[in-house]
Symmetry: C2
Subunit: 250 residues, 2 copies
C-alpha cells in the first residue's frame, strides 16, 4: 500500500489553497495518519462531473436530486473512491489499521452524535461566513456559490450578513454556540486536552476544521478571528495550535 | 458508606410511581451501581421548598428566577445534597469508585454532546407527551403542569396535542428524530449493543429514561408505545428490555 491517495479539494485564494471545513477534516485525517496524498483542486461547478467519473456516491439528495460534495478521495491501493469526511475517516481507520485511530473502538455513535450537536450550535455562523467564503473563491466557484446561496438565504449575497445591532446580536449567538461546545470540553479537562482525552480523534479535527475555515476566510488578523480565538479562554486558537503539525503532510 | 441515599422523585399514577424521564436517569444510575436508596415522593408545587431545605442548587434560571428541579439526592454518607441527573451520575462515579462507571474516563465531553444532540431531536415530542403526563399526575401536580405548560405553549392544555393530519405529520417528526439516534447507534453495532459498546453508560440510561417515560405515560398497550417500540427494527423496546434489570433496586 504505497501509492499516494488523491484528495479532491476546493481551491480558495488563501495560503495553501485549502479553506473548506469539510475537506479540512480529510486533510487533517490523512496527515494525522501519516498517509501520503496529492491534492486535485476542483471548482464548485465541476464537483458533480468529477464525482460521477470517480464513482463516488452522492452525499445527500435535495428535492429528489443527488448532491455530490467534497471531500472525496481515490485510494489507488484498494481502488476505492469515497466521498464524505466521516466515511472517509472510517475507511482510513479500517484500510490502514496500523495508523492512529480517528474512531477508537466503541466511540463511533458518540462521535457522530457530537458532530450533530456541534453543527446545531453553528446555525448563526453561516450568514457571516457565506460572503467571506465567496470573497476568497475563484470566479467559477464564486458564481456557483452566489447562485446557490442566494436561493438558500432568499436574498442577495450582499444582504446575507447582518449589519448594525443585528450583526452584534447574531455574532453573540455564534459565541454562545461555541461556549456550549467549550462546556462539553471542560467536562473532560481532567482527562486530557482533547475531547476524548490525551489524543485527538475525529471530533477534534472536525471542530478544528471549522475553526480553520474561519481563520482562512477571514484571515488571522481579522477582527472576527481575533474574537473567536479569544473566546472561552482562548481555547480555539490553542486547539488549532495543538493540531498544527497535522496541517501539512510530513 | 452504608446508609441509604434518598432519591427525590415526582409521583405519578403509574406502576411503581416513577414516570419522569429526568428522575428515571438517577433511578437507573443508582440501580446500575447497586447503591441502595429510598424514594421520597414530591409533588411539583413542593419541589422548590424541599430543594431549598435540602440545600440543592437551582438547575437553571428563567427570567432571572432560580428554577429547582428533580431528581435530587441526599447522600447521608457524605452529607451531600445534589440536583440534576448528569451531575448526580458524575458524583456517584466519584463517591462510589468501585461501582460500574456511568462516565468512563475520557467520555464526559462526548456523552454531554450526545445528550445535547439527543434532546434536540425530541422537539416534536412534548406536544404529545404534555397532556398524557398531566393525565397521570396527582391533582396538586396537575394544576402546576397545566399552569406552567399553558404559558409555555401559549394555549390550553387540551389544545397542546395536534390533531388530524397535523398529528400524523408531527408524530412522523418524532419518528424521524429517533431514527437519527438509531443511525448513531448503528455506527457502533460491531462494538456492542450499547452506545459505547458492551456496557451501558450514562447516555444509554438517558435514552432509556425517555423511552420509559413514553411507556409509562401512555401505557404498554397504547398505540403510541406500540408505534415507538416498533420503530427502527424494534430497537427501543429491546433497549428497555436490556436495561430492565436496572429498573428496580436489587
Amino acid at each position: 500500500m504505497s501509492a499516494k491517495i488523491t484528495l479532491y479539494d476546493i481551491p480558495g485564494r488563501v495560503a495553501g489553497g485549502a479553506w473548506s471545513p469539510s475537506t479540512w477534516k480529510t486533510r487533517y485525517a490523512l496527515n494525522f495518519k501519516g498517509i501520503p496524498f496529492d491534492t486535485i483542486w476542483v471548482e464548485f461547478p465541476d464537483i458533480e462531473a468529477i464525482s460521477r467519473k470517480l464513482g463516488t456516491l452522492p452525499t445527500s439528495h435535495r428535492n429528489g436530486k443527488p448532491r455530490y460534495t467534497l471531500p472525496a478521495i481515490h485510494d489507488p491501493n484498494t481502488s476505492t473512491p469515497l466521498a464524505e469526511s466521516a466515511l472517509i475517516a472510517e475507511y482510513l481507520d479500517s484500510a490502514y489499521p496500523d495508523t492512529p485511530k480517528l474512531f477508537p473502538p466503541g466511540t463511533r455513535p458518540l462521535q457522530y452524535a457530537f458532530i450533530d450537536a456541534f453543527m446545531s450550535h453553528l446555525d448563526a455562523l453561516w450568514q457571516f461566513t457565506t460572503p467571506a467564503t465567496h470573497a476568497i473563491l475563484n470566479p467559477p466557484s464564486q458564481a456557483h456559490v452566489r447562485r446557490t446561496r442566494e436561493v438558500a438565504f432568499g436574498r442577495k449575497l450582499e444582504e446575507i450578513a447582518p449589519t448594525g445591532a443585528a450583526a452584534e446580536e447574531e455574532w453573540a449567538k455564534v459565541k454562545s454556540g461555541l461556549e456550549i461546545v467549550a462546556g462539553w470540553q471542560d467536562k473532560g479537562k481532567n482527562d486530557g486536552s482533547f475531547f476524548l482525552g490525551k489524543e485527538p480523534v475525529f471530533v477534534d479535527f472536525a471542530v478544528a476544521s471549522f475553526l480553520m475555515f474561519m481563520k482562512k476566510i477571514w484571515g488571522e488578523d481579522s477582527s472576527q478571528w481575533r474574537d473567536i480565538s479569544s473566546w472561552s479562554g482562548g481555547r480555539w486558537g490553542t486547539l488549532l495550535k495543538a493540531l498544527e503539525k497535522y496541517e501539512t503532510a510530513l
